[in-house]
Amino acid sequence: MADALAFLTSPTFIAYSIIIGIVFGGLQIMAAVMVYAERKVAAFMQQRYGPYRVGPKGLLQPVADILKLFFKEELRPKAADAFLFSLAPIISVAAAYLAFAPVPFGAPTTFFGLLDEPMPLQVSDVNVAVLVIFAVASMGVYGIVLAGWASNSKYSLLGGLRSSAQMISYELAYGMALATVVMMAGSLSLKEIVDTQSGYWFGFIPQWYIFPQMIGFFVFACAGVAETNRAPFDFPEAEQELVAGYHTEYSSMRFAMFFMAEYINMVTVSAVAVNLYLGGWHGPFIPVEYGWIWFVIKLAFLLFVYLWLRWTLPRFRYDQLMSFGWKVLLPLATVNLILTAAGVLYFEL
């Protein structure tokens, strides 16, 4: 009993609780900010104003959206499978949150000397972090597939089927792109991968893996966008063909959960990309203790690219998506993997 109390009041436990709180709340806030940013960026690119009525510059728009979704009626089609219909959004959002758990977002810190030993800024430092993220990401597809099936509507079913085929196809390229970076860093832990990117080549080029791994980054970016079902790969919810795809029959908070899962997944994929390719919290000018500032800057940039892509590129055709995944990305990733393996052997043996 005394042990438990001592544990609950120990600085490590409190610090971990704070970190979990930061990540959990941060992801939620990020999702809300992304909804606002998406509409503002879209408006900017289409020379409109975007939301501007709720609060200054429309900043309270996400709050209004959330309130609206809260008070809407929960609808469920009569022919839907009740249990799976409720389970699907829960799986989606849980997988989205879980995937962020092994992602570090800053250098180990003592919280300005409050702690005796520096602790990593991440929820859990798993030594196979890259694989864990990969595994959890592959769980997210179940939410979408089950939503499609349980709704008992043809649009939803088509969305779900497309999504499962797409995710399986692009997971291969995604995994290969991860493998190249893992090979170069020689570790599966994201923290160690980031730490290998701290130096500079020739004194001014940061040792980020994006420079030797441009092909890998390209593959990772394409597969990442496809995995999160964002334009130009947003087939599971292609509005013009499938009404709203897998969440056609969803309303109110259940719909909001899918929505949140999508944005959190974007944040996670971007955060992983920052850690793997863009040097994580390392960067010039800012000391490493405040590295999370660099992390947030890079993250924001990648998220902007996401929005940029959506409002710039039209959607592929479905057969184009499949042939792009299997005939372009996968061979490219494989060749890149082989070249990287040869390079690692040549330079580091």
Partner: protein, 169 residues
């Protein structure tokens, strides 16, 4: 911990064969796989646990779910069973039941006579769980098996494509 994961695994597996709807069967098998992954972590094999999730739960089961949804499989109906099949004759069923009970008894007998069952799994030797160690053994001692596996995969890939292809004629 062990009992928690074991219960999840066994109940998941039981639900797979007790459910009429294939979609629920697939889902309970996924739950069962998560239980197994937990057991692998208890056995200090985190890499196997993660691979279990990625390959089994993340790929193979998605494939199953995909096929179930694509075919829109009818629920298994008891009346549909062909009762005239020779194996359904009462005599055959009784012999089969007796054999099954005998097999279970034999298994229990064999387990009760085996020595060393109560030895703890983690008592004697330290665990080897590093991925590097696994890779080293996989690509040296098991090189031949590894290469043969790749041939197996190619064969199954070609087979699946040929089977699923639409006939031109």
């Amino acid at each position: 911990m062990f009992y928690g994961f074991a219960v999840v695994t066994v109940i998941g597996a039981l639900l797979v064969i007790l459910q009429k709807n294939p979609v629920y069967s697939v889902l309970s098998l996924i739950a069962s796989f998560f239980g197994l992954a937990g057991l692998y972590i208890l056995l200090e094999a985190p890499f196997v646990a993660v691979v279990q999730i990625i390959i089994y739960a993340g790929a193979i089961m998605v494939l199953f779910l995909f096929v179930v949804m694509l075919l829109n499989v009818p629920r298994e109906d008891a009346a549909e069973w062909d009762r005239s099949h020779p194996l359904y004759r009462p005599m055959a069923v009784r012999i089969g039941a007796v054999l099954a009970v005998a097999l279970a008894l034999e298994l229990g007998w064999a387990l009760s006579r085996t020595a060393g069952l109560s030895a703890g799994v983690a008592d004697d030797r330290p665990a080897v769980s590093s991925v590097a160690e696994l890779g080293k053994v996989l690509f040296t001692d098991y090189m031949f098996a590894f290469e043969v596996t790749s041939i197996l995969i190619i064969a199954s890939m070609v087979g699946a494509v040929v089977l699923a292809r639409k006939r031109e004629d």
